[in-house]
Amino acid sequence: MIALTPQLLARLAALGIGGVIVQTAAVSQLPIAGANADLSPLLVMAVGLLCGSLAGACFGFGVGLFVDVVSLQTLGVSSLVLLGVGYGAGRIREARDPEGSLVPLAVGALATFAFAVGFAVMQFLLGVDAPVSWALVRQTLATLIVNTLLAIPLYALVRRSLQATLPEDPRRRRRRAYTTGGLSPLSRGVDLR
């Protein structure tokens, strides 16, 4: 598990606040194919994948709370859903340690889908009595597609902004371990005596 150093916390806070402000001031006002991109689940997914489940959950909670405060929405809804997204992304990293370059794309799509469904379920639990329209389903799908396309560049951006404060990149660690023989299959399980 990655330790949450003050430098990392500061960068995460700046990332969260900056991300939400950019989302509300610009991205929300840019309709793409009839929908808007939603950066918050992608940001939380990226932090979860890079920093683990604990940091992902805390970051998701913080970003969600900030989104709810800024948007004057019901407090606690986005934070509850996004902390689940961050925790889930972090657990994927911890349990699977995925290496493929398309992992952020898949996890980004999953995170967006989970956020959309979770948010909708919360709205219904809170008593929205209006029927769900096809337009809403269409917009949710369009957001899912746009977010999936944005997942890889946003992940790269988050990784770049956090890289200096992260202890070590799992891929670099694995590569180094291989080159020094630590994890090489040739040096494990073969007893020549």
Partner: protein
Amino acid sequence: MYDKTVRRRRAVLLLLVACSLILLTAYFGESGGGALHGVQRGTSAVLSPVQEGASRALKPVRDLFGWFGDTLAAKGQVKELRAERDRLRTEALRREALERDNKRLSDMLELNGALGLEAMAPRTGRVIFQSPTVWYATIRVDKGSDDGVRVGHPVINEEALIGRVTQVFGGSAQVTLITDTTMKVPARAGPRGIFGVVEPASAGNPNDLIMRFAPPGARLSPGDRVLTRGTEPEDRRRSLYPPGLPIGRITHIVNEGTDTQEIHLRPFANMRSLDFVQILTRPRGGGE
């Protein structure tokens, strides 16, 4: 060591979930003037200038995206003019944005003249924020209590009624659009002025409103205009929405002539493209 890590992780997760649920319960249970609402309003008031600055700073980016959309639509022409486009891109971007703003402001003035809204002291504001989720149809404008804006004031754009003010801060105000599921607008429709109440047909659809409580014998047809009624349906008090503001046009009627008839209308205003709006700060024309 591993067990300790897992325990710590689960404890933090449970703590965060509990915090979220407590926040949610407390927020949902308290009144609009409660502590959490106060904190939210305070934070929003502090962040409004930041959002406004960011919105202005990022406007060229938005315009750039809009420009790309237009470019894709006119691909054939763009091919021929590509060389010239490169040279004029920066200038065209700036000019297009200014022209669009100018057109919208001119249209607003025309609407004001046509509907006699000058007496209602309209305040023109720029949209600085739009809700990122389709579940909340809200925008924030850069006019607030310092400009005489109060909760309940109706809001129009250059085309029609778009909503009403639901939260006010010093320099900004939150506007809930008529497509939000919480909104209901007393209205009249058609040449005979049939009364009804306009509300969203479904969540997340900005192009479909529904007019309820119109009598089954109302002879309405697609194409009829729907305007604000000016009085509350229950007690005929004067509504905060002045009479005669355009809302939309009837598109189709389901179960026509029955008690369950549904009169669907499409709003005149494009809720997805709001740059400038006007807040009617004296909706009753007097000293509101």
